[in-house]
Amino acid sequence: MDRNEIVKAVNSIFVERFELEESELTPEKNIIEDLQLDSLDLVDMIVGLQQKFGIMLRDNPEIRNVRTLNDVYDLFEKLAKEHPEIAEKIR
């Protein structure tokens, strides 16, 4: 699973759930300050990522440390290496 696939899958959640334009979703964007997600949205981001990648995240401390979209992409690049089944799930 390459980074492009991860970026596409993560961004789709932000487009579908938070009604953001794809063009806004550049890697450096801060999820709270730039994309205006609040606490409820952050929970829904986790719910969306769990559904999309088929992996539980709620209790993963690393998801709580993400600040930018790039942080999310990095986290899933790492998770995809640890859990190769993720690639099948999003395909």
Binding site: F18, E19, D38, L40, D41, V43, D44, V47, Q50, Q51, M56, R58
Partner: protein, 408 residues
């Protein structure tokens, strides 16, 4: 101390006959029905039950900001759209909403019946972790009220008068009392509810639903008619801007009518059986609250949903209070039973009747038998309506009556 007076300066609806007061009123005046065969429920019931669904315009829904909309089930969406129309007509200054002097009181039977079902299904299927963080906010009992408050930035009192089919009318009565007490100057008040297979099945279980399959589903809701077989489930919302009279006058607001009196009581003995004595007592108490004698009432907008027992009990109560000379009609033949929305939603049509000086008759009423002895016009009846009374009767033994008076 003289009571402060409350008037209605704006009305909005989402209804089975359309999502504006004008569409609703025109539909009722043209004797049309919002009831159709619910083909989408065939899988649930094995046949096409009648229902009176709302059709939402996705573009109108999308105009509500995502951060408010995300916590709205359909009932709250209905209430939000109705509130927009009411506020627009009223012309309330948006700055007032954040003054602490405006309240929001909207009731429903269930915060969102469809969201409740979705949560139960997710739980049963072991998918609790798939539920949105917003899901619980959609089904909470006061979902319509706090979502509408959020939509407008209202930071005064927020209440939800959740008394099933009396919810909307209790909200309007509560608005009146908040204004009389001087706690607020204006309130967005009303009711909302959704119709789902589970809601219809709840009435079906009690033999209270018109559950036969018919080539003419719009004929199945027959309030006061000898051949009535039960209610038809509808949905929607009615929200009114209730405002202190002098406040409304000062800003030159449109004054549609005065809410002159209100009462609510309960039977205290049975949760589902209508109690004609307590219905009569409720209407008498509302009239006493308004200081208006029964003979001064020009029209009774009945609750009458088309159930065998409920309609007969209400007719007997109306007969006991008003005799047989005051015109009475029910709008459930046009709209089905819009549940917690019905009291506020039907008041939108009553306001049109007061404006136009007409009593619109009960749709599908052909033969009166056990509901005899009250005046049930079969045709449009012209004449000035100075005072009207609106009834709502609900499971839980709850009765509610609101007295509306024209302001000349």
């Amino acid at each position: 101390m003289e009571k402060r007076r409350a008037v209605v300066t704006g009305i909005g609806v989402v209804s089975p006959l359309g999502n504006s007061v004008e569409e609703l009123y025109r539909g009722v005046a043209d004797n049309r029905s919002g009831i159709r065969a619910m083909t989408e429920w065939r899988g649930e019931f094995g046949r096409d039950l009648a229902g009176a669904p709302v059709v939402l315009d996705p573009a109108a829904v999308k105009k509500i900001s995502r951060k408010v909309r995300r916590t709205m089930g359909n009932a709250a969406l209905f209430a939000g759209l109705a509130a927009q129309e009411a506020v627009e007509q009223s012309g309330l200054d948006p700055a007032l909403f954040t003054s602490g002097r405006v309240g929001c009181v909207i009731g429903s039977t269930v915060g969102s019946a469809s969201s409740m079902t979705e949560a139960c299904v997710a739980d049963y299927e072991g998918r609790r972790n798939d539920l949105s963080a917003c899901h619980f906010f959609r089904l909470m009992s006061h979902s319509s009220s706090f979502n509408v408050a959020d939509m407008f930035g209202i930071n005064g009192p927020q209440l939800a008068t959740n008394s099933a089919c009396a919810s909307g009318l209790q909200a309007l009565g509560t608005a009146l009392e908040l204004i009389q007490l001087g706690k607020v100057d204006a309130v967005l008040a009303g009711g909302s509810d959704e119709s789902t297979p589970l809601v219809a099945a709840s009435f079906q279980l009690l033999y209270a639903l018109a559950e036969e399959e018919s080539p003419e589903p719009d004929k199945l809701s027959r309030p006061f008619d000898a051949d009535r077989t039960g209610l038809v489930c509808g949905e929607g919302a009615g929200v009114l801007v209730v405002e202190e009279l002098e406040h409304a006058k000062r800003r030159g607001a449109p004054i549609l009518f005065e809410i002159a009196g209100y009462a609510t009581n309960c039977s205290g003995w049975h949760v589902s059986h209508s109690d004609e004595l307590q219905i009569a007592n409720c209407m008498k108490a509302a009239l006493a609250d308004a200081g208006i004698a029964p003979e001064k009432v020009d029209y009774v907008s009945a609750h009458a949903t088309g159930t065998r027992v409920g309609d007969a009990a209400e007719a007997a109560a109306i007969r006991a209070v008003f005799g047989g000379e005051t015109p009475v009609s029910s709008l459930k033949g046009h709209l089905g039973h819009t549940l917690g929305a019905s009291g506020a939603l039907e008041l939108a049509a009553v306001a049109g009747m007061m404006r136009d000086g007409v009593v619109l008759p009960t749709r599908n009423l052909e033969r009166v038998e056990d509901c005899a002895g009250i005046l049930l016009p079969r045709e449009v009846r012209e004449g000035k309506l100075r005072v009207c009374i609106k009834n709502s009767i609900a499971f839980g033994g709850v009765n509610t009556a609101l007295v509306c008076r024209s302001i000349d």
